[in-house]
């Protein structure tokens, strides 16, 4: 039986709230920002040491998680308050990567990954890179696909990879929210192209490995590319579809539900911000809807019949 995900979540959220209490405690005790940074760093160091000395399920492991979170919160506030944004983001990104490797806690690895991707987006934006959010999404997609395609035989390594993969996924979906809200500085076409390629490679390998016939693979990937083309301004749509595919493949119902929610949000955002008249939107929606229903009839007649013949 797997540990239900709400237990680590309960533990993690409890640690975050306790860390905020601790930050409140240190704020009452310390006036100087430089001392606060020193205390933040000391908290992180002591937490890393403590975590390596104790069992992962113990009270002390929870205390270590709380201390590292309190230290990070203190450092984040202090660095962004006192230093230039670019310098603060670079320093904190290095810190997050070091903690990702050096602090063996699933919840923390998830948070560190999300923070690292967020900080990368800030850095790329600060150095005026073209399409910074698209580049951030693709930078997070490459390790995510690598993690997905790795073999899962080594369970110890797998436990370390799982929260990182979930963190990358959460960060990618989070980066698409500004696009769904219609903000101008958001991920767009470049991210869609990259995601489609990455997912195409992953799905193709998977389908071929499971012996799917050429026609099914061609139809599946063809539909995926068509959807990507139609919704190229809203990369969240293709990302949610890819997530639904992977979630079903892994039998992960909670991720399937997350994919359905994000798909609804991103599709709604996409249609709301299309620069078209209501009538054109109506034609587009109806055509896509009818096309999907026709495709369903095709799948039902061709693929199910071939499956029955095979069995």
């Amino acid at each position: 039986m797997k540990t239900p995900w709400l237990i680590p979540l309960l533990r993690g959220v409890g640690a975050v709230v306790a860390a905020l209490f601790l930050v409140g405690f240190f704020s009452e005790m310390i006036d100087s920002e430089a001392v606060a940074r020193g205390v933040g760093f000391a908290l992180i160091l002591s937490a890393v040491l403590l975590r390596h000395l104790v069992d992962g399920k113990s009270f002390l492991a929870l205390l270590a998680l709380t201390l590292v979170l309190a230290g990070e919160i203190r450092l984040f506030f202090s660095c962004f308050h006192e230093w230039e944004v670019l310098v603060a983001a670079c320093v904190l990104l290095v810190l997050e990567v070091v903690l990702l490797l050096g602090f063996p806690d699933a919840f923390h690895r998830f948070l560190s990954t999300v923070s690292a991707v967020g900080l990368l987006a800030v850095i790329l934006k600060e150095i005026d890179l073209p399409v910074p959010f698209d580049v951030t999404v693709l930078s997070a997609t490459v390790p995510l696909v690598w993690l997905w395609t790795r073999s899962g035989r080594d369970t110890v390594a797998a436990e370390a990879r799982l929260p990182v993969a979930y963190g990358l996924l959460a960060a990618i979906l989070g980066l698409f929210v500004p696009t769904a809200l219609g903000l101008t500085e958001a991920a767009g076409t470049v991210a869609t192209v990259g995601l489609t390629l990455a997912f195409g490679v992953f799905a193709f390998g998977l389908l071929r490995r499971h012996g799917a016939d050429r026609e099914a693979v061609a139809v599946g990937l063809g539909v995926f590319v068509l959807v990507a083309f139609a919704t190229h301004q809203a990369p969240g749509v293709i990302a949610s579809l890819a997530l639904a595919f992977v979630a079903f493949h892994q039998g992960e119902n909670k991720w399937l539900a997350v994919a359905a929610i994000f798909l609804t949000v991103f599709l709604t955002g996409f249609y709301c911000h299309l620069d078209l008249t209501l009538l054109s939107k109506s034609a587009m929606l109806t055509t896509s809807g009818v096309a999907l229903l026709v495709l369903r009839l095709y799948v039902k007649s061709r693929i199910l019949t071939s499956l029955e013949t095979t069995s």
């Binding site: 009538l279 109506s282 009818v290």
Partner: protein, 312 residues
């Protein structure tokens, strides 16, 4: 290292069978095809809405409602397609009520419209035996209660308690029906959703009661009522989901509510009744208290999980 979570889902060695993939694909295509087509019709109606005239608008909406109801009847409400069509018809009833109110300026408050909507679709809800439609109905009923509260007594928390009671009855009813073998209520996500809504609705007034000495809030009766319902619900759920219907997810959810309640009580107790502690002392003591609670809760949940595993 947590040995109970050893499989890495992103690299699970087995995948669904080809048939399961095909059925998953068919279901997705049905749902998205229907949603996009219906949205297209809605956008079409919206494009010409101003030019439709009163009768045109009613004809469009009633036509869609009738089409959905006939479709449900033709497919049969025992099949998924029929249930989905009936759910669409139930949603269109809400749109029709809104249009009626807007056109004839009935002066009805929003909560009255939601109440009417809930009352009108109830026979369909009973007939469909479809958990998603039940949840839609419960959502509409919740909105009626909450809107009534907001519009008549904006800061009165009795309506949160009322919503808590409504959801609590639905939660207990769902679980009882499931235990008696009602197959269409078999899924676990319905009770989880309703359970979370119940606990949230009752936690609000309970915490306001505890914060009372600081905030000066006067919703004392609602607070005591909520607390009086919440405590037996917490103890009852812990017993039920541990012994009768083992579900670690629900136990964790209920424990989260209990931890929230206890921590709030502890913090307020220190702030109000032990001023000598100082603010820094209160933060530090609260952190230690919360960590102890969380540690105990997760330890107990792991023990329960192991016992459930041994029983399987």
């Amino acid at each position: 290292m947590d040995t109970t979570q050893t499989s890495f889902p992103l690299s699970k060695p087995t995948s669904p069978e080809a048939g399961e993939w095909a059925h998953f694909l068919l279901r997705c295509l049905l749902v998205f095809g229907t949603v996009l087509t219906v949205a297209g019709v809605v956008f079409f109606v919206a494009a010409y809405w101003q030019e439709f005239g009163r009768f045109g608008k009613f004809a469009a909406l009633e036509g869609a409602l009738l089409a959905a109801a006939v479709l449900a009847w033709r497919i049969g409400i025992d099949r998924l397609g029929g249930k989905v069509a009936l759910t669409a018809a139930a949603m269109l009833v809400g749109a029709l009520i809104a249009l009626y109110g807007q056109t004839y300026r009935t002066g009805a408050d929003a909560w009255e419209n939601f109440l009417l909507w809930a009352a009108l679709i109830l026979p369909w809800v009973l007939a469909a035996r479809f958990s998603a439609l039940w949840l839609l109905w419960l959502g509409v009923a919740n909105l009626a209660v909450r809107l009534y509260g907001w519009q008549t007594h904006p800061w009165d928390q009795r309506f949160l308690v009322a919503a808590g009671v409504l959801n609590g009855v639905a939660w207990i009813g769902w679980e009882m029906a499931r235990r008696r073998g009602v197959r269409w209520l078999d899924g676990t996500w319905g009770p989880r959703l309703i359970g979370a809504a119940t606990l949230l609705a009752l936690l609000g007034p309970s915490m306001t009661l505890i914060y009372g000495p600081i905030s000066g809030d006067t919703n004392v009766a609602a607070g005591w009522a909520a607390l009086g319902l919440l405590l037996p619900l917490i103890f009852g759920s812990l017993r039920y989901y541990r012994q009768d219907e083992p579900q670690v997810f629900m136990l964790a959810l209920v424990l989260a509510a209990a931890v929230t309640l206890l921590t709030t009580f502890f913090v307020v107790r220190l702030l109000v009744y032990d001023p000598g502690f100082g603010e820094a002392g209160v933060w530090l003591a609260s952190a230690v208290f919360l960590l102890t609670e969380i540690s105990a809760a997760t330890w107990w949940l792991r023990e329960v999980t192991l016992r459930m595993e041994a029983r399987l």
